[in-house]
Symmetry: C2
Subunit: 178 residues, 2 copies
């Protein structure tokens, strides 16, 4: 598989969450084209199972899409953090639990056509109450959902977030096939 | 669920594939913050089944992540196009088939934390050879994969694209539960 060679690179914007880079590249057939790249830190996304075997999910307003979405806990990996520590921090901040057990479930790119964002996916069990206060989680509503409800919530469109669908169905169906 | 009110909006960049907008918003608790929004057209993503019940997938170089990924056919909806017509065009351009039958399988946002992109997800069957030439599909390698291999390819990380994992597992497991 041939790759594309960078000829020039311009940083258009450096923001809080994303930055935008526009590169000129030479394609394998020799033509030149523009590639717009949205840079985002690596992230973690977590299927967290509570003491009653329910899946803990969050409903929060998402400004970019103008509505509230039902999602699994997720967040960016901070500078100097590894994915496991990011999961521990995010779960304490967002759902108020420390995960006694974490298992890696692989991961995925959210929009590889233009974005760098990669999500490391984890299964969190043996949850113990433990709260870290985070500034911007006041508006997160927590829900505890029986696993059997998940396919219905996806089929109905109630869960319409790619990372949540990918991680939840990987947990429900792929791990058991290994 | 409270929403966030836009106070000002600045278009930072208007590109080929994405545009970047930075808004100042008032949060429900009265504080002001910045929201960076990556605008992208709505897209389609397709689970396409060939005459031998294999799933047609593509391997292509993705500049933003610097590697080749195994993905289902997908693409942007063009101006004036509806999702069904976008699926018909993309399948002819990318895999060389016209879909005799299309079924809607819902859809999802790819990165709702900062992006507007929504993917309409379809199942395409009854494929008939039909080619539309597209400029930038020369570097796409087609693969035909038995459905039973899909969970293994996800578990191994060979398929590591959120839309592909979400759509493929929805096809394999969610539709049968409805």
């Amino acid at each position: 598989m041939s790759i594309e060679k960078k000829l020039s690179s311009q940083l258009i914007y450096q923001g809080k969450a994303v930055s935008l880079i526009v590169d000129i590249v030479k394609m394998p057939d020799g033509r030149e084209t523009t590639r717009e790249v949205v840079r985002h830190s690596e992230c973690i996304a977590v299927v967290a199972i509570d003491e009653h075997d329910n899946i803990i999910m969050e409903r929060q307003f998402r400004y970019s899409v103008g509505k509230s979405l039902l999602e699994i806990p997720a967040g960016g990996i901070e500078h100097g953090e590894n994915p496991v520590n990011a999961v521990r921090r995010e779960l304490q901040e967002e759902i108020g639990y420390f995960p006694g057990k974490l298992e890696n479930m692989g991961g995925f790119y959210s929009s590889p056509g233009y974005g760098t964002e990669y999500l490391h996916c984890f299964l969190a069990t043996d949850l113990k109450p433990s709260q870290l206060i985070a500034e911007d989680t006041a508006e997160i509503e927590l829900l505890r959902i029986p696993p059997i409800e998940i396919p219905k919530l996806i089929a109905s469109g109630e869960i319409c977030d790619a990372k949540s669908i990918a991680a939840l169905l990987t947990y429900l169906y792929v791990r058991t096939n290994k």
